[in-house]
Subunit: 341 residues, 4 copies
């Protein structure tokens, strides 16, 4: 039985507590939050769980094997470090940390102590994204031509991070899992409409070494909610619409076919294909349920998680590079040597 | 009665001929196309219209007052010049020309000869775009925060121009009409998936002097067709979905409200508004019908068209700048002193 | 503080318990279910709530002021009667009872004992239905021409009641609240595709004394889920789509206008109107939350609920009549003297 | 070369003329309409086609081999009879005639003269309906459980026929082609909202000898346009949405599975299946183009058309029976011995 302590009982924390509480092989023993009224709610719902306003106290508890961190991003490093140093396994919200340096140090600390360090890239545990990975693994889509995502809504303007860190982080986590290639350079643009606040609208292009391009479009100030990702391949193309109730993934047998021209082998003749579409049945289990089980399993077996510290670091590096580019109106920012996957 | 000669009877030409044929105050007297089988079709449908394979011959006809040019873009300059020099008024397909230099020379020639020069920015003549202009004119949307457009489908890969010149041109024409501000710099990214062909996927950000940002996303290799434009303002926001049968324009009473913080006047408190949505009834007349009448009217009265050479030139300058930026992976390209509107 | 006992902790019971637990002025003191594993779940979530497998025991508890009944319909009468006889106020799931006779007897019992008897017509407490009622109250729609509802999905085949009692009951409850008129006759058709089971597909037409017609279409065997109600009036028309995330109610300024013909005053000339559409912002509070508060308020003040026993009886009478008609392939069944509203 | 004369150049006539004009093996030689301004339009578009206001004259022309009738339904019989008696093959708009007696007499006349008599059941020639037929032919859907169609919009109120004859006729034609079974009885309800006009809203249930039920819902007074047909089978289910641009047909691998209960062989255990959905690529040729070719082919070869007089008669019989039932508020009307198919 893995005993879980959760730090942060705001928006996402209650979902984490509920899922670990219902997860076989785990039990939630303690919850920490600075706000008394949040702890009162924990007490009402889970009378047997210990509550505290002190993260240090939670980390020190002998009845906690693993710490789940669901606080604002600027506290991830400090709390993650404290938990690891107390010998606890860690599951931390995305994005993993405020800087890639912080992320690297968390990775090193966990490695040195042989503790599990996992990042809550929730989408990786959805039926839809796993189906996309299945298809890229099997080569079902052919060569991947583009990843294109729109993730917009009327959302909370955050104080500390720009909209890329809040919304694009989902796409970077999905891409990290679904695509075999890693971006080599980034160009991003965006704007802050409220003086003194970070950018609330942003566009981010990622370049790769081969013929793949990725683009993510995020906005906190859209009148309509859109969650639509296109994954275009040479053989098939996928539309992932997360707002669809029952057909989140549609696979289109559409695209172009290239044939060398009879006159000029360097010239390609382009043909168009339009064929059937199909929407595969997806696993319906709640992503967080799958993810909680996976974390518990990794802790139990000492195994490396699907979304470990390295994945978290790659995503943070992209966010850093994009923010740098955006501050300079789209200037290309190279990602240096790709992080080993 | 204005007598019209049309050069180019391919994809768009038949629509132009049909609309001018049905336009009060106009008559189509001649059609030119290099392909005999296209001319045969003109003969079947319009037995009284003269046909020719020679553009020079058409321009020389005394029974032609105005020439409509619906050829590939690389012939717009040469044919427009020939028509103007023959003393004919000109309506030319978008984009107006292959370069801004060509566009400027067409403007100068028309001005010197006091002839009407109009560019076929069709969307400007739709009920939806006119409604958007009405709203920006009346200040109904408040300050404009962003223009964001997605224009993607499985489309013909063109040989000569990249996807911006084919699809983004529509958005640049709409923006030129609807927005009061002009872009001052551009950053664009994109990729060509077929060796030897122009970019088939592209993303284009435009910066302005004030707190407005514009982005256009175009793609010839999408499995689904999307035509959706968001116009976000401080008071209201518009969604223009051109694929909607009956509610192309939706106006949302949504957004944020800013109040100076009581403690710190430089710090803004953000409130959220979500209110009603309404979809105004739009004029249903075919855009090309409205546009043909407008051209005939301008020719008759010697008036300046809504989408004259200057508008065409501004759009071409943006396409040039974006192509330059895209070739250099998003490098910011300044638009110099804004073209006078 | 009104103390609530809940009988039945299956599909709907947990929602009732949760909403009464969070309702100001109420507290849940006891839950009854025949299944031990269901009670175990109550214990985990609400350690302070008493649990029992005996409904009689729950009804007898002195710390229960009101009983909420969320069992299969065939037990509503017996349990409702037991609770009323024990002096408890009652909130009973829809449909109120298996027969109109049972419903009448519950009404009489509650009246004799001056206890509140309310039926859980949940939709009446949604923002969407209340908005519809507001519009009919204000005469905004003009004369009501039709109510037309499609409520289909791949749903559980029930053993004891046909699909009308499971799904059409929602529409009958909505109509009872929104329309001023009461049906005078019913014709229904349907079919059972599984031998020995009740009808799983049904169509029900209701006639009124004036120029209004209502139709409800329900199906447990549809591959897609549809929840769409049209309310057509002489001035405006409403589409209520319950699956829309944010625009559940759309009001169309569309219809016909009738003018006496100049030649023949008995002949009407028909004109068509198509105007704007608007989607009003709706109250977002969960319906069951509103409903729980309303029940608590009625019990506290001894007031008559919005959806009291008479409304429940009217709905049951319609279900009886429709089932009778359906058994006879659409034979018209009169509703006799309308139940007083 | 089959020479075609068209009677009626109102709403649908121009489509017929255009399609026969472009159909290989056919030529349009004459058009008849009582309105001079309609004939003027024919002259402008087709200068070589003879025009006349006299149907008798058109039928008498020796350069007409076949007559296409596109007039209001009350003239179908008289004009069809005149054309057949003049020795012309006939293609007549749907519904075939005003009464089944008229339809029968047209069939007899055509048979006696060995002339082709075809009814314009246009939907039968669409890619979508042909795909549905392919699936029922191949048994891909299993046993057919229901046909359910909604066909509503804000449409022209007709003077002479009720909404069933205008809109439901499409579904009856589709069912006649797609289903192997024929209805044995009908129950219909509806209402006229304009005094002195036929019913503008109607609901029609059809019963069959086996476990199949069909329902058609039509309305001229709907604020929104819906064209959606469900075809539910024991193995698969189809949704045909004619307003979808590219995925008109969706096939769902969903439904129930029945197993005899272990305890009671007469009791069925119901299991639910939800699987993939696919949208097959459909033929894109315009239905009227396919239909015109088919008519020309039948005339050339003396073959029986897919939608001949017998199909037209079956549809008229259903419309008669439904109108009779509707006049009597849903009274069941038997269809007598099924017409031989």
């Amino acid at each position: 039985m893995i005993r879980i302590g959760v730090i942060g009982y705001g928006y996402w924390g209650p979902n984490l507590v509920r899922n670990f509480a219902e997860c076989a092989g785990a039990t939630v023993t303690a919850v920490c939050d600075a706000r008394e009224e949040r702890l009162a709610q924990v007490r009402r719902r889970y009378p047997s769980v210990a509550v505290t306003t002190s993260a240090a106290e939670l980390c020190a508890r002998p009845d906690v094997d693993a710490v789940v961190i669901a606080t604002p991003v600027d506290r991830h490093f400090e709390l993650g470090m404290a938990a690891l140093r107390a010998g606890k396994h860690v599951l931390v919200e995305k994005p993993m940390a405020s800087t890639s340096d912080e992320a690297s140090r968390l990775i090193d600390e966990a490695a040195a102590r042989r503790l599990v360090l996992m990042v809550d890239h929730t989408f990786v545990y959805t039926g839809a994204v796993r189906k996309m990975r299945e298809m890229t693994d099997a080569g079902e889509l052919g060569d991947i031509y583009y990843y294109d995502s729109v993730r917009i809504n009327l959302g909370l303007f955050q104080h500390d991070v720009n909209v890329l860190w809040d919304l694009a982080v989902h796409d970077l986590a999905i891409m990290d899992y679904v695509l075999k290639e890693r971006p080599v350079a980034v160009s991003a643009t965006g704007l802050a409409h409220v003086p003194g606040r970070p950018q609330n609208i942003a566009y981010m292009t990622m370049f790769f070494q081969n013929s793949l391009i990725a683009h993510v479009h995020v906005n906190w100030l859209s009148p309509v909610k859109v969650r639509r990702t296109l994954l275009g391949g040479s053989r098939r193309m996928v539309v992932f619409d997360d707002l669809e109730a029952s057909e989140k993934i549609k696979v289109y047998d559409r695209g172009i076919s290239l044939n060398p021209s009879p006159e000029n082998v360097y010239q390609m003749l382009i043909g168009y294909r339009t064929g059937d579409m199909y929407a595969p049945q997806l696993a319906l289990t709640e992503a967080l349920n799958v993810e909680a089980s996976h974390f518990v399993d990794c802790v139990s077996r000492g195994a490396a998680p699907l979304t470990g510290g390295e994945a978290g670091l790659r995503v943070v590096r992209l966010l850093e590079a994009a923010s740098e580019s955006m501050a300079d109106q789209g200037r290309l920012v190279s990602l240096g040597s790709p992080v080993h996957s």
